[in-house]
Symmetry: C2
Subunit: 339 residues, 2 copies
DNA sequence: CTGTTAGCGCCTTCAT
DNA sequence: ATGAAGGCGCTAACAG
C-alpha cells in the first residue's frame, strides 16, 4: 500500500555541485571554488553558492573530491581492542580532536597480523593517515609501504621515523618499584600481558633497574605470559611476592578477584599497584593505588600531532610527545610485614 | 642531504586498474569484473588479473568505485561515548562482524545534537548506512532525511521503521525489583543517568510495575538526574532505600565509592544490583550482583542485521532483535534487616 | 565471457 | 574573478 513512494531507482544520489551551480547561476568551477578555494572568489558569489547549496541540502561528495585531490578528510585509527578501557579512552581522545578539526575516523580493531590487514583496508579507502597502537616492525613497514602519514600512540619503536605519543613507562615502574622496596618489600612482581612493545620493555627494564639498585635481599619476578589473557591466573605466578605491579586494569581486577577467593588480604598480605586508573578502583576496599597513564590525553595529542602534520607543508622532523603519568597512592599498598 | 629522494610530486597515487588490466592483457572492464562480479568472468582470467594486481601491489580504489556504484563499503557508527564500557563493547561487537564482511566503519562519538551533525558528516563521505545509539526523534529524522539504512542498538522508538537490537529493560528491572521485594526490602531505588530513551523508560516502568504489584508498604524511588554525570552524588538521593538498582557500571562504582566513604555497608545496609556486568564486579567484596546486558552480542547482531539489509535486495519488513540479559546473583544482595 | 563506450561528481589548468 | 574543457579511477550498459 504505502510502498508506492519507495524510490525504485536507487540511483537517487542527492544534489550535485552541478545542481548548486545552476541554482546559483554560476559555472561548476566557481561553485567548486566556493567550497575549497579561499582566495579567488568574490565574497558575494561564494555566499550565493553557499545559499544555493543550503537550499538544496547539498553536501560535498568527499569520495568524488578525493578522486582528483587525493585528500579525503578521513583518518584511520587502528587499535587492538576497545573493550580494554585504556584503548577506549585513547579512541575517545582521538575522536574529540578529529571532530573539532573536521575529520572523520575509520576505526579498525586489530593486533598483530590484523594490523597489517587493517592498513591494507585503509589503503583501499584512500585514507592517507593513521593513528596506531601498538607498534611493531610489521605495522611500521606496512605503513611505510602504503605511504601513510602515521602517529603511534603509547608505544614507539627504534626504527620509527614517524611522530609518536608515549608515556614514561620505564620511569614510573622504576619509581613505584623503588617505593615498594622502601616500604620493606623483599619480593616484588610485575605482571604484564601485552606483547613485547617499547612500553612493556620499558616497564620491565624500569622494574629490573629498581631491583638492581636495591640490596641483594630484594628480588623481582617478571610475569609476562603471551598467552590467551582470558585463562590466565596470576596468583600462582606471584612466587611469594608481597608487592605486585599490575600491567593494566584487567590484570588488576583479575588479580584482586583471585586474591579475594583465596583469602589473600590486600594490602596486608599483598600490596597492589595498577598501571591504569579507573573509577572503580577508588570504590574498592581498600582503594587501589593506581597510575593514571592519561590515555585520553594521549589520544588527543596523537590526533593533534597528526592533524598538524597533515596541514603543515614544511616537512618538520618527527617528534615524540610524552605524557606524564600521575601516581595515585591509595590504600592498597602498605609496608611489608612478616606473616 | 637525504631529502633528494622525497617525491616532490605528491600525485604518486599508486597503480590503477588500468595498469593491472594492461599487465594482465585484458580490458579495464574485465579487470574490474575480476574484483566485483562473481559471475561473468572466466576463472582463469580472474586469476590472471588478480595475479597482476598482486604483482603491482594494486588496491581497489573505493572512493572512485563509489562514484559509479554508490556503494562504498563503509558503515557509519554513531555512539555517545566509548569511555562507557557498555558502548565500547557494542563497538567491539560491531567491528568484529563488519571486518568479517569486508566493511570498514566510520566511528563518530556524539549524543544529542552531535548525533545529527554526525549523520551530516557521514553523508558527506557518502556512507549509506549507520548503526546508532541511543535513539531520538532528532536522529531518526536526520537518518530519514539522509536516506540512510539504519540499525538502532539498545534503544527503540515508537516512530521507528528501521531494524533495531534491544534488550529486556522492562522485564529485567521488574524482575530484579520483585526479587528485592521478596527479600523483604520496603524501600527501593532505581538510579538512571541516560537521557530519556526507550531503555530508560522501560526500566522505570518495570521498576514501578514491581512496586505497584507489591503491598503498599513497599515504595520505590526513581533517581534520574539528567545533569552532568560527573558531579552526581547518588547516596543522598537514596532516601533511605535499603536496595538499589544502578543503571550502569559507572553509577555502580560511584555509588559503591560513596557507600564506602560514608560507612554504608553492602549488603548489610544496602543491597546493590548493577545493570551492566564488568570484570571488576566479581573482584569486589562483596561481589556485585549484576545483569549482563551482553552489549558485545548486541553490537554483533546490529552489524549482522545491517549487512543483511545492505545485501538483501528484497525490501523485507523491519525487525527487532532482542538480546536476553543474564542475571548474575552475587553477594551484594541480602534479605532486608532492620538496622 | 569479454571489449567498447560513456559517464559518476569533482577539481584543476588554461583562457578570458 | 569567472568560465570552458579535460580527466581523476572506476563501473554499468550495451554489443559482440
Amino acid at each position: 500500500m504505502a510502498s508506492a513512494d519507495r524510490t525504485v531507482d536507487s540511483a537517487d544520489r542527492g544534489p550535485t555541485l552541478k545542481d548548486v551551480a545552476r541554482l546559483a547561476e554560476v559555472s561548476r568551477a566557481t561553485a567548486s571554488r566556493a567550497f575549497a578555494d579561499h582566495s579567488s572568489i568574490a565574497a558575494a558569489t561564494r555566499m550565493r553558492v553557499l545559499d544555493a547549496a543550503r537550499m538544496l541540502g547539498y553536501t560535498l561528495n568527499q569520495p568524488a573530491r578525493s578522486l582528483k585531490s587525493g585528500r579525503i578528510g578521513l583518518v584511520g585509527v587502528v587499535l587492538p581492542d576497545l573493550r580494554d578501557p585504556f584503548y577506549a579512552h585513547i579512541a575517545a581522545g582521538i575522536d574529540e580532536v578529529l571532530q573539532d578539526q573536521g575529520f572523520a575516523m575509520i576505526m579498525i580493531m586489530g593486533r598483530g597480523g590484523d594490523q597489517v590487514a587493517a592498513i591494507e583496508r585503509l589503503r583501499s579507502h584512500r585514507v592517507g593517515s593513521v593513528i596506531v597502537a601498538p607498534t611493531s616492525t610489521a605495522i611500521i613497514s606496512a605503513i611505510r609501504a602504503a605511504k601513510l602519514v602515521a602517529v603511534h600512540v603509547h608505544t614507539t619503536h627504534h626504527s620509527l621515523v614517524s611522530d609518536c605519543v608515549t608515556g614514561y613507562d620505564y620511569e614510573v615502574v622504576r619509581g613505584i618499584a623503588a617505593e615498594l622496596i622502601t616500604l620493606g618489600h623483599k619480593r616484588l612482581a610485575l605482571l604484564l600481558r601485552s606483547p613485547e612493545t617499547s612500553a612493556t620493555r620499558g616497564r620491565a627494564a624500569g622494574f629490573l633497574s629498581a631491583i638492581d639498585a636495591a640490596p641483594s635481599t630484594v628480588s623481582g619476578r617478571l610475569v609476562a605470559p603471551h598467552t590467551d589473557p582470558r585463562i590466565t591466573s596470576w596468583l600462582p605466578h606471584l612466587d611469594g611476592a608481597s608487592a605486585v605491579i599490575a600491567g593494566d586494569a584487567g590484570i588488576t581486577s583479575r588479580l584482586l578477584q583471585e586474591a579475594r577467593n583465596r583469602g589473600v588480604c590486600v594490602p596486608r598480605d599483598l600490596s597492589v599497584v595498577s598501571l591504569g586508573d579507573l573509577d572503580w578502583m577508588t570504590a574498592f576496599d581498600p582503594p587501589i593505588s593506581a597510575v593514571d597513564l592519561h590515555p585520553h590525553a594521549m589520544g588527543r595529542h596523537a590526533a593533534e600531532t597528526l592533524v598538524a602534520r597533515l596541514r603543515g607543508d614544511a616537512p618538520a622532523p618527527p617528534v615524540e610527545i610524552r605524557v606524564l603519568p600521575t601516581v595515585n597512592r591509595r590504600g592498597s599498598i602498605a609496608p611489608f610485614r612478616e606473616s
